[in-house]
Subunit: 163 residues, 2 copies
Amino acid sequence: MTIGALRSIIIENVFQQAVGLSVVESWLEQLQSNGYRLTNARRAVVQTVARSQRALSPMQVFEQARSRYPALGLVTVYRTLEKLEELKLIQRVHQLSGCNAYLALAEGHQHLIICLECGRAEYFEGEQMEGFFSQVGERHGYRVCEHWLQLFGICRECRTNEN
Amino acid sequence: MTIGALRSIIIENVFQQAVGLSVVESWLEQLQSNGYRLTNARRAVVQTVARSQRALSPMQVFEQARSRYPALGLVTVYRTLEKLEELKLIQRVHQLSGCNAYLALAEGHQHLIICLECGRAEYFEGEQMEGFFSQVGERHGYRVCEHWLQLFGICRECRTNEN
DNA sequence: CTCCATGCAAAATATTTGCAATTCA
DNA sequence: TGAATTGCAAATATTTTGCATGGAG
């Protein structure tokens, strides 16, 4: 094993511990504490969605999760996503390309910025807008109780690759 | 005919001239000038969508337009909506209840406020936000080129009816 | 009279449901 | 062991496509 390969593994482990594994374990715990059983099918789906940097459709989740657990069925993906959404661990993301993709839900970070090229999705904050939204509502006679804000663009990595 | 009925007709005509008929005629003209033929099916769809205050699904358009032109088929609704969208006369609207509804597109008014109760949809302006959106993009390394902003709430009429 | 447009039927997709076999707790 | 979970197959729901007929220009 080369130094390079070793370093990759270390970095991967650090990465998983920092942003991957703990989220997976937290989701599995929450499924369990809400009365759902932990199965290999659910573990595969949770690992796939929790670690993804982009919103995935049920079919994409199915394809990726099947490499972890080949016996997985598409129906189980649908049912697991349903439960994760119900527990507010993921949310459905609407994009120009479709509205059936799911992404980990970051608490308190309501707004999304999505790369049109690679699909990478990140949350950003914008609390100062709530006041503006209420004002707009008042002006039109609405009591505003929800809002969707999403930005679309090209991320740095994709711009670099294109040049 | 009573004075009341007469007044209703006058008001309806004024209304149609102000916000309904002219839009319908404009859309039909644009269909024609883009090489599409004017048929009764298309007239029925255009009248339904152009005059609606809320976003309508293909099935809803079909049901409403069929009362104007009973021989209408659902497939023609899909195909007509497709052409209207291509001509940028309507847009697909994403709601919690689904993403397959279409609404007249008001030029220059990019953002929507939608009543969760009755579905009424109105556009509002918010040009001052473009700068903010670009800033957010920069901070995350994105070149922002598009944005979605939608507010959801309860309109005045629905609040009144509930009390 | 010539194509474009239509509506039906069928196909293609996407999602949900019924159910017997399996697996977790 | 008992009940929740699974995957398959079938049912639904939605949208698209093929095609013979009809209608606009």
